[in-house]
């Protein structure tokens, strides 16, 4: 993709949003990328994505966030959905226990289709609906610990912790990537010096191996 000067960034990180339908994935996306929330949003059909460029650990990172329908049918078509994804935000609805119970199904899906080193963050969304809460923070917290995931509760509606959630996962991705490039025996790819850009995933047929892919 042609890059304009105002779009300069050090890294492009692809992060996917997954979780049952209706948990608020699209609103987390719009809150993070456009600071918008829509109570009357439609169900997501197919795949959508949005980007936001921000500072992470002193670097300019362009976060490319992919959003899809909760129903399995739609990920089958877009086989590229998980390709090159460095992070996954696994969202459930704190007012709907079934969406939390299905988290294990989503983890399995990630294990089956995503890179083994993908950074996963569990997100309990809709904390603004306090009187309807049905999943205890502690339960989700201990589940996340057992599974080795980071965990945070958010409210896309009230804009609580949304920024923090994305910052956390992007920082984690950055740390892993920078560690890898330090430990890598190969010389740093030329494009880092020139344009300071690592484009990971996305375009098919890219012969270059993403710097973070499993060794």
């Amino acid at each position: 993709m042609a890059r304009r000067p105002d779009e300069e960034y050090d890294y492009l990180f692809k992060v996917v949003l997954i979780g049952d339908s209706g948990v608020g994935k699209s609103n987390l996306l719009s809150r993070f990328t456009r600071n918008e929330f829509c109570l009357e949003s439609k169900s997501t059909i197919g795949v959508e994505f949005a980007t936001r460029t921000l500072q992470v650990e002193g670097r300019t990172v362009k976060a490319q966030i992919w959003d899809t329908a909760g129903q399995e049918r739609y990920r089958a078509i877009t086989s590229a959905y998980y390709r090159g994804a460095l992070g996954a935000l696994l969202v459930y609805d704190v007012t709907k226990p079934t969406t939390f119970e299905n988290v294990s199904r989503w983890l399995k899906e990630l294990r089956d289709h995503a890179d083994a080193n993908i950074v996963i963050m569990l997100i309990g969304n809709k904390t603004d609906l306090k009187h309807l809460r049905a999943v205890a923070t502690e339960d989700a917290q201990s589940y996340a610990e057992r599974e080795g995931l980071s965990f945070i509760e958010t409210s896309a509606l009230e804009a609580t912790n949304v920024e923090k959630a994305f910052q956390t996962i992007l920082s984690e991705i950055y740390r892993i990537i920078s560690k890898k490039s330090l430990s890598s025996e190969e010389p740093t790819p030329a494009n880092i010096k020139e344009g300071k850009t690592i484009v990971v995933g996305g375009s098919e047929g890219n012969a270059k191996k993403p710097c973070c892919s499993s060794s």
Binding site: M1, E40, K42, V47, Q71, Y74, A76, I77, T78
Partner: protein, 426 residues
């Protein structure tokens, strides 16, 4: 092919033949059974393509639903809307060039209305003529759109004399299907209670025990996990129903007909839920796929707005049949098992890419090589949802007038519109 599994009378297939193949083959060598195809396209005016500025036009014309949809809401002709339809026609005609302005003005909404009314009052309706008028947009109100769509979808036969009989039969059939398939096992048990109990007691010989097992068999109870268990299936369908409910809450959320807590909108959502659930049960290979709600919405909305009370009251039954007919043309796109088959969504998308390449190579090259944006990312939703998530409801209805008017089916019509849109964006 899954089409065979759809509960679809043969008649529907005749109206909507499997013409996906013709997406690529082009129009010239295709002709439908009545030889209508060529004439329809030659005249050049009947199939109106979606112009890239159409969405904007709709916004400009402020097409909001101003009617407060209370229980006594009058969904009949809205004069203001007619004026706007009129203005829109004029506006468009100006774009078409100065020479056509006067011709287009003649086609004012009033005249179109009387044309349609005249056509629909014929003993034997000329579908070719009807398609020609409908493709340029149907007037609002008066139930004209509902009746026309029913004819275009082949739900109503061209002979007026047969309408009442067909409608009565179909509506009865729907009521029966609903009763058979949408009742819970306990409701069904209640019906067959006597038979079940006596059979069970005789077979198991435990009739003398202190605790009687009324209506619950050993094999089938709410906790049984066997796939054949009626309860197991019932709960599986509850999951589907939950998904349907979630999506119906998000169907045209800005329109009171569909959303909100009014008893009116709740009644409408219940009816749509029945339709989608019934479809899912009758088509186990497809079940319910998110987005079907959007495809159903325009049909149910239009049929509910019929000024004929009988028609409006039976909107649910009629919508079900028409929804099935409409999907017969695109149902394979909803089926993951067919994704990589010639009838699946990926093939359709690649045919669309071919069409784009043939019609606008520059744009095709840009998407294919420069930006590497696959059609899955921009056209998938257009095709599976028949443009229903791209425009507001009033625009969708207008677009569908054209889509449904294509004798080769909505999918062919849709692809033509897409490539035409692309070409215009240049």
């Amino acid at each position: 092919m899954l089409k065979g599994k759809l509960q679809l009378p043969d008649k529907a297939r005749r109206v909507f033949p499997d013409r996906l193949g013709s997406l690529v083959a082009g129009l010239v060598d295709k002709e439908d059974e009545n030889g209508l195809y060529d004439s329809v396209f030659e005249s050049g005016e009947e199939l109106e393509f979606i112009q890239p500025d159409r969405a904007e036009l709709c916004k400009e014309s402020d097409y909001e639903f101003q009617c407060e949809y209370g229980d006594d809401c009058d969904l009949s002709l809205n004069d203001k809307m007619m004026e706007k339809e009129d203005a829109k026609t004029r506006k468009r005609s100006e774009k078409d060039g100065p020479g056509q302005v006067s011709v287009m003005e003649v086609f004012a909404a009033d005249e179109k209305r009387s044309d349609i009314e005249h056509e629909l009052s014929q003993k034997e309706i000329n579908l070719e003529k009807l398609r020609r008028i409908a493709s340029t947009g149907l007037p609002e109100g008066g139930g004209l759109r509902g009746t026309t769509w029913k004819l275009l979808l082949g739900y109503l036969p061209p002979s007026r004399d047969l309408w009442e009989k067909e409608l009565t039969e179909n509506r009865q059939k729907y009521a029966k299907l609903k009763e058979e398939l949408l009742s819970s096992p306990s409701e069904l048990n209640a019906v067959n209670n006597d038979v079940l109990n006596s059979d069970e007691l005789n077979a198991e010989g435990d009739g003398g025990g202190p605790l009687k097992r009324h209506g619950v068999s050993h094999e089938d109870h709410p906790l049984s996990v066997g796939k054949s268990s009626a309860w197991h299936q019932y709960f599986q369908h509850t999951e589907i129903a939950d998904q349907i409910d979630r999506d119906l809450q998000r169907t045209h959320p800005n329109i009171k007909f569909f959303s909100g807590d009014s008893s009116f909108s709740r009644k409408n959502r219940d009816a749509m839920r029945n339709i989608l659930l019934l479809f899912a049960k009758l088509n186990p290979a497809i079940r319910y796929v998110q987005g079907m709600n959007e495809v159903l919405a325009p049909i149910f909305y239009v049929f509910s707005a019929d000024t004929d009370q009988q028609n409006a009251a039976n909107a649910e039954a009629d919508s079900f049949s028409c929804f099935v007919r409409l999907l017969s043309d695109s149902v394979d796109h909803f089926c993951p098992q067919l994704d990589n088959s010639p009838v699946g969504i990926l093939s359709t998308l690649s045919r669309l890419t071919d069409l784009l390449k043939a019609n606008d190579e520059e744009l095709w090259r840009h998407l294919e090589f420069t930006t590497k944006v696959k059609p899955q990312f921009y056209a998938f939703r257009w095709i599976t949802l028949l443009l229903t998530q791209e425009f507001d409801l009033q625009c969708i209805l207008r677009i569908w007038d054209s889509l449904l008017s294509n004798p080769s089916g909505v999918q062919v019509s849709l692809s033509l519109s897409h490539t035409h849109t692309h070409t215009h964006q240049d």
